[in-house]
Symmetry: C2
Subunit: 211 residues, 2 copies
DNA sequence: AGCAAAATTAAGTTATCACTCAATGGTAAG
DNA sequence: CTTACCATTGAGTGATAACTTAATTTTGCT
C-alpha cells in the first residue's frame, strides 16, 4: 500500500472513507485492468486478487464501471496541471529564461508524472480510445485553467520573439506529440527514459519552435 | 462494398475465397469494433448488422479472435511501407531534394494512408495497447525492410549534412510522434486534416531536425 | 435436371458474467 | 452485557457470451 503509483489517490483523497479491504480492491483492479484491460477483467478475478468476497466490490462501488471511474477520475484531473508547480514557476520568472527552459521544465515535469503513474495511465489511455465521454472530459480539462495559463505563457514568449508565430493550439499539439511519443515508447515498447534521449527530444522541440 | 476503407482488403487479397455474406460479416465487424471496441462487441451483434446467422461467422473464421486477426493483419503489414512509393522515390532522387522534400513526402503519404483506413486503425490501436503479441509484430515489421530502407536514406541525409547527428532511431521517433499526433487529433478529437496545419507541423519537424 | 459439396441457418449448450441479498461477524457506544 | 450499525460474506440469479451441430438451402458441375 506504500506503492508510489498510489500517490495520486492520497492527493485526491480517493482513499478517504475507504476500508483496508476496499483499498485492496482498488489496488487489485488497477493491477489487472492495466494488464488485461477493463473489459477483459472479471469482478471475481479482482476480488480473488484483493483477497475479499466479490460482493464487497459492490458495497463500495456502484458497479464495475464505478470502480473504473474511481481509478481514472484522479488522472483526468491531473493530466493537465491546473497551474505550474513552484519549480517551473521560479525557473520561468528568471530574467534570462529561454525557450529551452520553458519546454525543459514542462516536458520533464509531465514525463515524470506520467511515468510515476504508469498503470493508471495505461488504463486511462485504453479507456479514452473507447469512450467518447472520457474524451469529452479531457477536452474540458484542457480548455480550463491549463489552457488559459499556458496560453498566456505562450503569448509572452511570442512577445519576446522567442517562439514561432503559430497558433498556440498548434504549438501545444507539437509539444504534446513529443511528450506522448516519449511516454508511449516507454510504456508500450519498453524504451528507457534516459535523460540523454529526453534531452535530445527537448532540444529538437526547441529548434522546431524557436523563432 | 465500394467503401474506400476496404481498399486494403482488396490489395492484400483478404477478400479472396470469401462469399458476399462473409464479406458483410467482416465489414460489420470493422464498423462495430471501431465504434465500441472488440471486447464490448458480441458476435450476435455483428451477425445482426451483417444480416446473417450468427453461426456463419464461425464457419469462415475460427473464432471471434480470428475475425479480429483478419481485420488487423493487413494493417500490420502496411503501416510501415516496405518500400517508398514511386511518387516519393522520384521526388527524393532529384538533385535539389531537401530535408523538407523528405519529410513532406513521407508524412503526407502516411497521414493519407492512416486517414483512409480510419476505422481499422482505431481497432488496431486499441488492440495494440492490450496485446503484447500485436506490439511484437509491429516491432518486427519495423525492424524489417522499412528500417533498412529508411536507415539508408537517413544516412545519406547525414552524409549531405542535411540532418542532425542524432541516432536514426531518435529521428524516427520524433517523426512518428508528429505523425501520430496529427492522426490521433483527427481520429479521436475531431481535428481537421487541413493542408495548412499539416504543412506547419512538417515545417516544424524540418526545423527540428535540420543541421 | 440431378447430385455432391459448400454455405448458411437456427436452435441449442455450456460457461461465465455482473450483480443481489439474506445471513454473519466485528466493533463501539450505552 | 446489550444493542445497533456497518462491513463483509458467499451462495444464488438471470442474462448473455462464444461457440457447436444437425438440418436445410444454395451453388456449381456434368
Amino acid at each position: 500500500m506504500e506503492d508510489v503509483e498510489l500517490q495520486i489517490f492520497k492527493e485526491t483523497h480517493v482513499f478517504e472513507n475507504m476500508t483496508t479491504k476496499q483499498m485492496h480492491i482498488l489496488v487489485a483492479a488497477i493491477d489487472i485492468f492495466a494488464d488485461k484491460g477493463y473489459a477483459n477483467t472479471s469482478t471475481k478475478e479482482i476480488a480473488t486478487q484483493a483477497g475479499v468476497a466479490e460482493g464487497n466490490i459492490f458495497s463500495k462501488f456502484k458497479n464495475k464501471r464505478g470502480l473504473l471511474n474511481a481509478i481514472i477520475a484522479p488522472i483526468i484531473d491531473s493530466i493537465f496541471p491546473a497551474s505550474m508547480n513552484d519549480f517551473i514557476k521560479t525557473r520561468l520568472t528568471k530574467e534570462y529564461s529561454t525557450l529551452h527552459d520553458f519546454f525543459d521544465s514542462i516536458i520533464k515535469d509531465r514525463v515524470a508524472f506520467l511515468a510515476s503513474n504508469s498503470k493508471i495511465i495505461k488504463i486511462f489511455v485504453s479507456e479514452m480510445l473507447y469512450d467518447q465521454t472520457v474524451r469529452q472530459q479531457i477536452i474540458e480539462k484542457f480548455s480550463g485553467a491549463y489552457w488559459s495559463n499556458i496560453n498566456q505563457e505562450l503569448n509572452q514568449l511570442k512577445a519576446k520573439h522567442l517562439i514561432v508565430e503559430l497558433d498556440n493550439i498548434e504549438i501545444l499539439k507539437i509539444m504534446w506529440s513529443i511528450t506522448g511519443g516519449i511516454i508511449i515508447g516507454h510504456l508500450y515498447f519498453g524504451q528507457s527514459l534516459s535523460t540523454d534521449k529526453i534531452d535530445h527530444a527537448i532540444a529538437a522541440l526547441v529548434k522546431a519552435l524557436s523563432r
